[in-house]
């Protein structure tokens, strides 16, 4: 259309120049020349008319389709990725003033009053035809109001490997059990289950590494995964963690990576069956095997099993009503070497195997659209050891809660926690959580 417009302008200029020069030339020319020029002028005028008509018809046609054409590009304004923003805030009270000792998760309520434990920025999209990329950057405000920042996830995953394989590399939440790989906004309770905190630390198990997953060629869903990540850091707390004195009571030894066995290996096998049109069950088994830094040769094994069952009504409204039941049980064999006591450096703690286990089971009832009632039971049990630490204290917790989603993009949750700690007795807490999301529509994994 623009090109046509230019042509018309050009023709008009030529005609104008022709018109301007005509009187001068007419005086010197014979009549025949004047007639010839007149004919040329007429034909040029005709051309202009034709072109103008074409221009008008072209200008009119898109006008009829203008609304969808102009509205379509507004979607994500031409960006090549989805942007999401999610903020969680908690408000509540506990009978213990030391809320941090009761709620040890990094995304749990941390103080009496207000906590903002998770402000998450997510990016995702296709990198190119071969990779998908994802990143979650998390900001949080600590108990004293200071801002914290962490690269929670930043990974790329293949989209077209042969043999039903899929590889992932970067920093990511490790596939161990069900909840560990979920972001806090996908949790069904205000806080992290006690057992995940005890086995993997305040932020769960995650780290820099790579994963290879194979979708088995079975009739039902079955997937085998193998993840290898660095075994050092705060997010691998049963392994070479800088906070490991909490677990083994001793001064951590400096343990460099000398061989592949100094990395943390996490295999997982999961399978699912549809029991009926309305019922589905998912089961899984995971392990985490790697070095710990109680001694130069010390190693840890964590094993876990998980089950998830869901019933959803045949013709539910917005996915309601439903009932779901999720259970995870983990056990740990922490091979502690002979080590210098952290609290009494003169004392040497004997080599010992710490056998701990724990689990949680949660039942959710989606009563009617956007209202869910839930109850969770938590338990952790630890073997006797030559030292004591809060982190290996035997604990029980019962948490009933009620969640209301005003829409898919906001949530209000009220939760009561009854806590029993072997050394410190009982505590009661009440937490109200509010969440809001902006940006890309969240898609939920099963």
């Amino acid at each position: 259309m623009i090109r046509l417009g230019k042509t018309v302008t050009l023709v008009a200029v030529v005609v104008a120049w022709g018109c301007a020069s005509t009187p001068a030339s007419a005086q010197q020319s014979k009549d025949s020349t004047a007639r010839r020029q007149q004919r040329q002028l007429d034909s040029l005028a005709e051309s202009i008319k034709t072109l103008q008509a074409r221009l008008d018809s072209l200008a009119a046609a898109p006008a009829a389709e203008a609304p969808p054409a102009s509205a379509a590009p507004t979607r994500s304004s031409g960006m090549y990725m989805n942007l999401g923003f999610d903020a969680l805030s908690d408000f509540g009270w506990s009978t213990t003033p030391d809320v941090g000792s009761l709620q040890r998760g990094d995304h749990d309520p941390a103080v009496r009053g207000f906590t903002i434990p998770n402000v998450e920025l997510t990016f995702d999209g296709a990198v190119d035809p071969y990779f998908k990329g994802f990143s979650a950057l998390v900001y949080k405000l600590g108990p004293t109001g200071e801002s914290g920042f962490e690269v929670e996830e930043a990974w790329a995953q293949t989209t077209s490997l042969p043999y039903n394989l899929q590889a992932k590399a970067g920093q990511f939440l490790t596939d161990f059990g069900r909840q560990n790989a979920q972001h806090p906004h996908a949790w069904s309770f205000v806080d992290q289950p006690l057992v995940l905190n005890q086995m993997f630390g305040p932020d769960g198990l995650r780290g820099q590494g790579a994963k290879l997953a194979w979708l088995l060629p079975t009739e039902f869903y079955a997937e085998a995964m193998l993840t290898v990540i660095n075994s050092f850091g705060g997010t691998t707390s049963s392994f070479r963690s800088n906070e490991s004195n909490e677990i083994h009571g001793g001064v951590p030894v400096d343990r460099p990576v000398n061989s592949l066995s100094d990395l943390l290996v996490v295999p997982r096998l999961t399978a699912s069956l549809d029991l009926s049109e309305t019922q589905t069950v998912v089961v899984g088994a995971s392990a985490g095997i790697g070095p710990n830094n109680s001694g130069p040769q010390a190693r840890t094994q964590v094993y876990g099993v998980d089950t998830y069952y869901k019933w959803k009504a045949v013709s539910g409204q917005a996915g309601f009503p439903f009932v779901s039941w999720q259970t995870e049980v983990l056990s740990r064999r922490y091979g502690a070497d002979a080590r210098v006591s952290f609290t009494a450096p003169a004392q040497t703690l004997p080599a010992e195997t710490l056998s701990d286990w724990g689990g949680y089971s949660q039942l959710l009832w989606g009563i009617r659209p956007r209202i869910i009632a839930g109850i969770r039971g938590d338990v952790t049990r630890n073997s006797a050891a030559a030292f004591t630490t809060d982190l290996r204290e035997n604990r029980d917790r019962i948490s009933p809660n009620l969640t209301w989603y005003p829409s898919e993009f906001s949530k209000l949750r009220l939760q009561y926690n009854y806590d029993h700690r072997a050394q410190q007795g009982n505590d009661h807490s009440l937490w109200l959580q509010f969440e809001f999301m902006l940006g890309a529509h969240a898609a939920h994994k099963f």
Partner: protein, 308 residues
């Protein structure tokens, strides 16, 4: 004579062998997100395709569980047909990610996005969720407009022919058959609803917009105040007042929507709640697109007649 027959026999045998060995002998594995797309895929694909559908006919297509069994189904699909316009945005992306199926990648002939080529209604000029869960690409409930269905059918036939060129003539013939059936019925449906031109109706979600536009009905209110937002008492009071003022007496409700809310409104407006479905199979005897539309049009026409 035998010598002359021999090459012909050999050619026939070779042809039979090649057709047995060629991928054409294998049925195309087609997966659709919703049953309506499944019904059209069956009509176009005929015996050359095997169609599986992820959502149940009675299920809200916005809220389908991303069950792991769907991963396996998608992993083995040759073709995926999705509604598009973000209808399945809450559950399809994680399934596709886990399915590891390059045949269904964006831009491949194996991926059919039904909304492409449809003149979408309600495309928002600005994206603002205070207006509810508005789909940025427009209202995705276009399938019960027969002319939209024909566009989708043509789209499906074109992609099927690209993926299985050997069956292209069959797909073309089936498309012609489908179009002829819809065209013939379209005249009947228009006639059935013609007496109710401009009649005001109410729906639960704004999912009869395309239908109303095609058949000249007028959706004056929805029980949801905004897309995906639960009806509030204040909004329902407004709906009741509007229905009484506008002489609207028919409320259309799909199986996965809250019938009780609709009943409450109907009681106060001398109205009726009409159980309808846009998904083939949700109501008995509606397994094909034409039978679904036939039932839909007749049910609505009968109710509008009764409430005249």
């Amino acid at each position: 004579m035998t010598l002359m027959l021999l090459p012909r026999l050999a050619a026939t045998a070779l042809l039979a062998l090649s057709s047995a060995l060629s991928p054409g002998a294998k049925k195309l594995n087609v997966v659709t997100t919703t049953p309506d797309l499944g019904a059209i895929a069956r009509e176009i694909g005929g015996d050359a395709v095997d169609v599986k559908t992820l959502a149940k006919p009675s299920e809200d297509p916005h809220f389908v569980d991303a069950k792991p069994s769907h991963i396996v189904t998608l992993n083995r699909a040759d073709v995926l047909i999705e509604g598009g316009a973000e209808l399945e945005v809450g559950w399809l992306p994680p399934l596709l990610e886990s399915a590891r199926n390059g045949r269904l990648a964006a831009g491949s002939p194996g991926l059919i996005v039904a909304s492409q080529g449809i003149r979408m209604l309600e495309v928002p000029a600005t994206l603002d969720r205070s207006r509810g869960d508005v789909h940025s690409l427009g209202n995705p409930h276009f399938f019960i407009d027969p002319l939209s269905a024909k566009i989708v059918a043509a789209h499906i036939a074109e992609h099927f022919s690209q993926v299985a060129p050997e069956s292209a003539p069959l797909f073309r013939a089936n498309l012609a058959k489908f179009n002829a059936a819809v065209d013939a019925k379209f005249i009947v449906w228009q006639k059935l609803l013609a007496p109710f031109k401009g009649t005001k109706i109410v729906t639960y979600h704004n999912d009869f917009l395309y239908f109303a536009e095609r058949f000249k009905l007028d959706v004056v209110e929805t029980l949801e105040p905004k897309p995906g937002i639960a009806p509030s008492p204040a909004h329902l009071a407004q709906v009741i007042a509007k229905m009484n003022a506008d002489n609207a007496h028919v409320i259309l409700v799909q199986p996965y929507q809250n019938r009780r809310t609709a009943e409450t409104v109907a009681r106060q407006t001398n109205g009726i709640v009409l159980d309808v479905s846009q998904q083939p199979g949700a109501i008995k005897g509606t397994d094909t697109y034409v039978s679904l539309m036939d039932t839909l049009v007749r049910t609505i026409a009968t109710a509008l007649e009764a409430k005249r």
